[in-house]
C-alpha cells in the first residue's frame, strides 16, 4: 500500500449540525464582498442616485462580511433572520424619521435631505439584506441558491426592458450612450459579461462540485423560464384602446394608435359630445364624420316598431322661446325625459299610461361617444347601470326597459289630446306657438283639405294630416338657408319648404300647437328597422340623429308623429356595416367578437404549454394538499399510536412518539449515533429519555419480556414534562405545526 492510497481518504467526520461555521479564507471573503457590492449596485442603479448606489455597494460588502460572522456565532438561524427583518424595518423607519420628523430637511435643504435619506435607506438596507442572505447560505449550504438567484435577478431586472431588440431600452442606460453617439449594444454586452463574471466568482467559491452544478442549473433554469415565458405568453399587451379595430375614429393602424399624441387628438374628435344641442338650425349641416358610430343598442326582446322606425328618445324641446322650441325650464313638464345617466337602478318619475297597446322591451346601450343624457326606445320606464364590458372601447353602458308601442296610428283614433290632470300652465306650455297667423291658417287649411269632416276634430287624425301634408310638400336637404331668418321655421315652411328634420319637426309642432294639440320636438336617434338586419344589435351613428314631433295623447302618452319627406335631396344615410354592427353588439354583450382570424392566435404549442401549465398547477396543488394531509396524518398516527398498540410494540412506539416530539425541538439523533448515545447527549434537557431509550433498546435486542405499560407511560409523561420545561412554548408550537418533522426523526 502506498502513501497515496492512504491519503486518498482522509478521515473526515460529519460536522455537528450546531457546529459554528468554519472561518473563510480572506481572499474568498474579499471576492464575495466584491460580488455582493456589484450586485447591490446593479440592483439600486435604476432606482436611486449615484450616492445611494455607492452606499448600497459599500453596505452590501459590509453585509457580506457581517453575515458570515453572524453565521459563525451560536445564535440560531431563525433568530438571525428575525433580527435582519427587524433591522430592515428599523432602517425604513429611521429614513422616515429623518425626512419627516427630525429636521434634516431644514438643515440640508429638501433635495440634499432626500439624497442623504436614500443613501441611508439603500446602504443600510443592503447591509441587512446581504447579511441575511449570507448567514442563510453559510448555515444551510443548500440555500446558497438564494444568493445566486439574487445576483441573477439583480442583473436581469437591470436589462429587463432590453428585449425584443429594443436597443434603446432601458433608457437610463441607453440614452446617455446614444446621446454621446455611442452604441448601447456594447454596454449591454458589458453588463452581461459582468453578470457572468460575478456569477462565476460566486460559483467558484463552492467547494462542492455538486453544489456548483446545482447553481448553474438554477441559473440555466431561470434563463429558460424567461425565454419560455416570453415565447408562450408574449409581451404584456398594450393598454386597451380599442383592440385595434380602428372604431374610435378614423381608421388608424395599431402602431399609430399606440402613439400617445395621436390618441389625444383622436379623443378630441371621437369624444365629441353627442347631444341634441347640436340639432340647431344650420344652413349647412355638416355631416362629415357623422358615419362614426356613437353607440350600439342590444335588444333583449324582439320588437318591431309599428311604423318601421325605432325612435330612441334622448331629450325633448317643448318650450317656445320666441324663435324656436328649447328645453323646458319648468319642472312639471317633460318629466319622462331622463335627466342623467343611472348610477343605480331607478324608475323614471313619469311613465306612459299603461295600455294594452304597449309592451316592455329591454335594451343594453353601449355608448361609443360621450353623451350628456341616456337615450332609449320611447318611452323608457326603468334605467340601470350595466358593467362596461370593454372600458377601453365603450364610454358608458346602461340598461333600459321601455314600454314601446305595438300598434299603429289607426288604433289611436279617438284618443283625446293632453292629459286630464294638466294644469292650464302646462297646457299653455305645450301649445305655445309663434304669433304668426299664417301657422293657424295653414293648419286649418291642411285639416280641411286632408280630412273628411267627421275626423276633423280627432287629434290623431289632425296630427297625421299635418305630417302627411309636410311630407308631401317638403323636401329633405341638409343644405338650407333658413338659419339667419328671424323665424327659421316660418322661413322654411312658408318659403321653399326645403330643410332637414329640425325644420320639419318645428314646422309640424307649430302647426299642431295652433290646432290645440300638445306637441313637442323630441330629439335622439331614429333608425330604420331594416338596419337591424334581423340581428338584435343596432348600431347608431351620427347620421341617425333625428328630431321629430310628438303629440301627447291621453291614453298613450307622447306619441311620435314623424314626417317622411317625399322629396329627398340629400341621399339618406347608408345603413351601418352589418359586420361592424354585429361585432359591436357582441362587444357590448361582453363577448370577445374576434375569433381566430382577427387576433393572432396563440401557437398551438404555446396553448398546449399553457394548458399543461394549468394542469400541472392543479395537479401540483392537489398533490401538495394530499401530501400535507398525509404528512400530518402520519404525524398524528405516530403521536397517538402508543395508546392503541399492543404491549409488545409499546416500547418501540412510545419511544418513537417521544423521539418525534424531541425532533420537533431540534433534538435529533445524528446519522451513525446509537440511540443510547443520543439519549446521553440530550440527558441535560430531558433526563427521562434515557430510561425510555433503555426500555426500547432492550425490548428490541433483548429477550421477549413482559412490558410494564404503566411504568412506560409514566416515563413518557416525564419526558414530555421535561421537554415542556426545557423549551419555550413557541418552539414547541412551531415544531408541532411542521408537517415533516417526523420524517427527520431517525
Amino acid at each position: 500500500m502506498s502513501e497515496a492510497a492512504a491519503t486518498r481518504r482522509v478521515p473526515s467526520r460529519r460536522p455537528h449540525a450546531t457546529d459554528p461555521v468554519s472561518p473563510e479564507p480572506w481572499l474568498a471573503m474579499a471576492l464575495r464582498m466584491v460580488v455582493h457590492a456589484v450586485t447591490a449596485a446593479a440592483l439600486v442603479w435604476p432606482l436611486a442616485h449615484t450616492g445611494a448606489v455607492a452606499a448600497a455597494a459599500i453596505g452590501a460588502s459590509l453585509g457580506s462580511a457581517c453575515g458570515r460572522l453572524m453565521a459563525r456565532t451560536r445564535v440560531r438561524l431563525l433568530a438571525i433572520e428575525a433580527g435582519v427583518v427587524v433591522a430592515l424595518a428599523a432602517t425604513v423607519g429611521a429614513r422616515e424619521l429623518w425626512v419627516g420628523v427630525i429636521p434634516l430637511p431644514s438643515l440640508l435643504g429638501p433635495a440634499a435631505a432626500m439624497r442623504v435619506a436614500d443613501a441611508w435607506l439603500f446602504g443600510a438596507g443592503a447591509v441587512w439584506v446581504t447579511a441575511g442572505l449570507r448567514a442563510l447560505s453559510s448555515r444551510r449550504p443548500a440555500l446558497a441558491v438564494l444568493e445566486v438567484a439574487a445576483v441573477a435577478i439583480a442583473f436581469a431586472q437591470l436589462v429587463v426592458a432590453h428585449r425584443h431588440g429594443a436597443i434603446n431600452r432601458p433608457f437610463a442606460i441607453a440614452d446617455p450612450i446614444l446621446a454621446a453617439g455611442g452604441d448601447p449594444t456594447m454596454a449591454f454586452l458589458g453588463i452581461g459579461a459582468v453578470a457572468t463574471v460575478v456569477l462565476v466568482l460566486l460559483l467558484l467559491r463552492e467547494r462542492s462540485v455538486v453544489r456548483s452544478l446545482l447553481h448553474v442549473a438554477v441559473a440555466i433554469g431561470v434563463v429558460l423560464l424567461v425565454i419560455a415565458g416570453t415565447r408562450t405568453f408574449g409581451l404584456p399587451p398594450p393598454p386597451p384602446s380599442g383592440k385595434g379595430l380602428g372604431l374610435r375614429g378614423d381608421s388608424e393602424d395599431e402602431s399609430q394608435r399606440r402613439d400617445r399624441g395621436r390618441r389625444g387628438e383622436q379623443g378630441d374628435r371621437g369624444g365629441r359630445q353627442r347631444d341634441n344641442e347640436q340639432l340647431e338650425f344650420r344652413n349647412n349641416y355638416d355631416s362629415s364624420g357623422s358615419q362614426t358610430p356613437v353607440g350600439v343598442v342590444v335588444f333583449h326582446d324582439d320588437y318591431s316598431p309599428p311604423h318601421g322606425v325605432y325612435y330612441f328618445r334622448q331629450s325633448a324641446f317643448s318650450q317656445y322661446n320666441g324663435r324656436r322650441l328649447v328645453h323646458a325650464t319648468r319642472d312639471d313638464v317633460d318629466r319622462d325625459i331622463a335627466s342623467g345617466f343611472p348610477t343605480e337602478p331607478r324608475r323614471l318619475p313619469v311613465t306612459p299610461p299603461d295600455s294594452a297597446r304597449r309592451m316592455s322591451v329591454e335594451q343594453t346601450v353601449a355608448l361609443l361617444a360621450d353623451h350628456t343624457r341616456p337615450f332609449a326606445l320611447a318611452a323608457p320606464v326603468r334605467l340601470a347601470p350595466a358593467t362596461n364590458p370593454d372600458p377601453g372601447r365603450f364610454k358608458r353602458t346602461y340598461r333600459a326597459v321601455s314600454r314601446v308601442r305595438t300598434s299603429g296610428y289607426r288604433s289611436l283614433i279617438g284618443s283625446t289630446a293632453g292629459a286630464a290632470a294638466w294644469s292650464d300652465a302646462q297646457w299653455n306650455h305645450y301649445t305655445d306657438a309663434p304669433d304668426d297667423s299664417r301657422y293657424a291658417e295653414l293648419a286649418q287649411r291642411i285639416v280641411e283639405q286632408k280630412l273628411p269632416a267627421r275626423h276633423r276634430d280627432d287629434p290623431v287624425a289632425r296630427a297625421l294630416a299635418i305630417t302627411s301634408w309636410l311630407g308631401e310638400h317638403g323636401a329633405y336637404d341638409l343644405q338650407s338657408s333658413h338659419a339667419d331668418a328671424e323665424d327659421p321655421t316660418a322661413h322654411f315652411l312658408f318659403g321653399n319648404k326645403t330643410g332637414y328634420c329640425v325644420h320639419f319637426a318645428h314646422a309640424a309642432s307649430y302647426l299642431m300647437r295652433t290646432l290645440g294639440l300638445p306637441t313637442r320636438v323630441a330629439t335622439g336617434y331614429a333608425v330604420d328597422e331594416a338596419a337591424r338586419r334581423g340581428g338584435s344589435a343596432l348600431l347608431l351613428s351620427g347620421r341617425n340623429s333625428h328630431a321629430w314631433p310628438e303629440v301627447y295623447l291621453g291614453s298613450e302618452g307622447w306619441v311620435p308623429f314623424d314626417i317622411t319627406p317625399e322629396q329627398v335631396l340629400t341621399p339618406p344615410p347608408e345603413p351601418p356595416d352589418p359586420d361592424l354592427q354585429r361585432l359591436l353588439g357582441e362587444l357590448a354583450r361582453g363577448n370577445d367578437p374576434l375569433p381566430q382570424q382577427a387576433a393572432p392566435a396563440l401557437p398551438r404549442l404555446a396553448r398546449a404549454a399553457r394548458d399543461l401549465g394549468g394542469l400541472v398547477g392543479r395537479i401540483g396543488g392537489l398533490a401538495l394538499a394530499i401530501g400535507l394531509v398525509l404528512l400530518f396524518g402520519i404525524k398524528l398516527w405516530r403521536r397517538i399510536a402508543p395508546r392503541l398498540v399492543s404491549s409488545r410494540a409499546l416500547p418501540r412506539v412510545q419511544y418513537r412518539a417521544e423521539a418525534d416530539r424531541l425532533g420537533e425541538v431540534a433534538l435529533r439523533r445524528m446519522r451513525g449515533e446509537s440511540r443510547e448515545s443520543f439519549a446521553a447527549r440530550v440527558r441535560a434537557q430531558v433526563p427521562s429519555f434515557d430510561a425510555l431509550t433503555q426500555r426500547h433498546v432492550t425490548s428490541a435486542f433483548g429477550r421477549r419480556a413482559e412490558v410494564d405499560r404503566g411504568e412506560l407511560e409514566r416515563t413518557a409523561r416525564a419526558v414530555r414534562e421535561e421537554r415542556r420545561r426545557a423549551f419555550p412554548w413557541w418552539r414547541r408550537v412551531v415544531g408541532a405545526l411542521t408537517p415533516w418533522s417526523w420524517m427527520r426523526t431517525r
Binding site: P11, R652, S674, T698, F701
Partner: protein, 360 residues
C-alpha cells in the same frame, strides 16, 4: 469453549438465568466498588478491566508512569480471595477447578531487556533431597499478573508470556504446567519513551482483548487522591467484601449462556470487522478471533450494566478498545480508534433502524 452458546445449553443458566446474572452483576459490582475506592477518577478503565476479567480476556494499558496501574492490578488481585465459599457447590453441575496450592492472588513482573523466559514461566531446579528436577513456578502462576512495561523486554520473553496468555499453560522442559483458570494479565507499556524497546507486533497485540489508552485523571479526582494521601490507597477497599475466585469463574460461565445477543448485533459485529478489512486505510484487518473474544466482552458489559441482553451501545462503547489495536493502519492515520468508530457508525445506524422495525 462454548463462546457461541447463547441459550439453553447450560442447564444451570437455563434454570434461572436472572439469578445467575444477578450474582454475576453483584460480583462485578463488588469488585468495581473495591477498585473504585482504591483508584480515583478511573471508573472507565476499571469497568473495562472488569469486563475483560469476566470475559476471560487480557488488558493492555498504554500508560505513563505513576498513573495507578500497579495499584489497579494489585487491588484487583487482592480483591479476589482464594477462600472456598459455602455457595461454591450449590448447583453447579461441573465442579470448578481448584487452584493449585502455590498460587498467589497477585504477581507483578517488571520487564527488562535482560529478562529470560524462565524468569517468567518458572524453571526446573534439581532437588537435592529427592534427587529429581522439581518445577519451581514463575510469577505467571497467579490469579492476576501485572506485566509492567511489556515492550521493554526481548521478543523471546514476550512470546513466552503471550503463549501463557493464549493457552493458559506454560511449557518448561517439555512438561506442560497449567496455569490457574482465572489467569488474568494486565500488561502496560509506555507509548512515549520508545528508545530501546521492542514494540509488540500486531499479531501479538491480538492476544489482548482490550488495549486501553489512559488519560490523566481530572482535577477533582487528583484532589481526592491527595486527600487520601497518608493512608495507603489499598486500604480504602478494605471495608468492602472481596469476591472469591470461584465467584469470578462462575460469573464467566454465567454470561456466556444467559446474556442474549440478538442476531442483528452479531451481524453488526461481523460487518464492522468486514468493513474495516475493506477500508484502504487499514492494511491489516481484524482477526476472526477478535470477534470470538469480543462476544463475551459485549455480554460482560451488558451484565455490568445490569442487563440480560446486549444492546448497540455495548458495541459502540467496546469496539474501539477491541479493534483499534488489532488493525494495522497505513501511514498517515493517527488514530486507529477513530477509524474503528467510523466503521461502527454505519452499523449503529443499521441497528437503530432495526430497532424501529416491527417485531416479528
Amino acid at each position: 469453549m462454548d463462546a457461541t452458546t447463547t441459550e439453553g445449553t447450560d442447564a444451570s443458566t437455563a434454570r434461572a438465568p436472572e439469578d445467575t446474572l444477578d450474582r454475576a452483576h453483584q460480583v462485578m459490582e463488588r469488585l468495581g466498588g473495591r477498585l473504585r475506592a482504591a483508584i480515583r477518577g478511573r471508573d472507565d478503565v476499571i469497568e473495562l478491566v472488569l469486563i475483560a476479567l469476566v470475559a476471560d480476556g487480557h488488558v493492555l494499558l498504554e500508560d505513563y508512569p505513576g498513573s495507578g496501574k500497579t495499584t489497579l492490578a494489585k487491588a484487583l488481585g487482592e480483591s479476589i480471595v482464594d477462600a472456598d465459599d459455602a455457595e461454591g457447590s450449590d448447583g453447579a453441575p461441573q465442579p470448578l477447578p481448584e487452584a493449585p496450592e502455590s498460587f498467589n492472588p497477585f504477581r507483578r513482573i517488571q520487564f527488562t531487556p535482560d529478562l529470560l523466559p524462565s524468569d517468567v514461566t518458572g524453571t526446573s531446579v534439581f532437588d537435592v533431597d529427592s534427587g529429581t528436577f522439581v518445577f519451581r513456578p514463575g510469577p505467571l502462576f497467579a490469579h492476576v499478573v501485572l506485566a509492567d512495561e511489556i515492550n521493554r523486554t526481548s521478543p523471546k520473553v514476550q512470546a513466552a508470556l503471550l503463549e501463557a496468555m493464549a493457552e493458559k499453560q506454560v511449557t518448561v522442559d517439555n512438561v506442560t504446567h497449567p496455569l490457574d483458570e482465572l489467569f488474568f494479565v494486565i500488561a502496560t507499556q509506555n507509548p512515549l519513551d520508545l528508545s530501546g524497546t521492542y514494540p509488540l507486533p500486531t499479531p501479538q497485540l491480538d492476544r489482548f482483548l482490550f488495549k486501553v489508552t489512559m488519560e490523566h485523571i481530572d482535577r477533582q479526582s487528583e484532589l481526592e487522591v491527595l486527600d487520601q494521601y497518608p493512608r495507603s490507597s489499598l486500604e480504602h477497599g478494605e471495608g468492602l467484601a472481596p469476591v472469591t475466585r470461584k465467584d469470578v469463574l462462575r460469573a464467566r460461565r454465567a454470561i456466556r449462556g444467559a446474556v442474549h445477543v440478538a442476531q442483528p448485533l452479531r451481524e453488526g459485529l461481523v460487518d464492522t470487522a468486514r468493513s474495516l478489512r475493506a477500508d484502504p486505510r487499514v492494511l491489516q484487518g481484524t482477526s476472526t478471533r477478535s470477534l470470538v473474544l469480543a462476544l463475551p466482552a459485549l455480554q460482560a458489559r451488558a451484565v455490568a450494566r445490569q442487563r440480560d441482553s446486549v444492546i448497540p451501545e455495548d458495541l459502540e462503547a467496546l469496539a474501539p478498545f477491541v479493534f483499534a489495536h488489532r488493525i494495522e493502519c497505513a501511514p498517515g492515520v493517527d488514530d486507529p480508534a477513530e477509524v474503528v468508530r467510523e466503521h461502527v457508525s454505519p452499523q449503529l445506524e443499521a441497528l437503530a433502524k432495526h430497532s424501529m422495525r416491527r417485531a416479528t
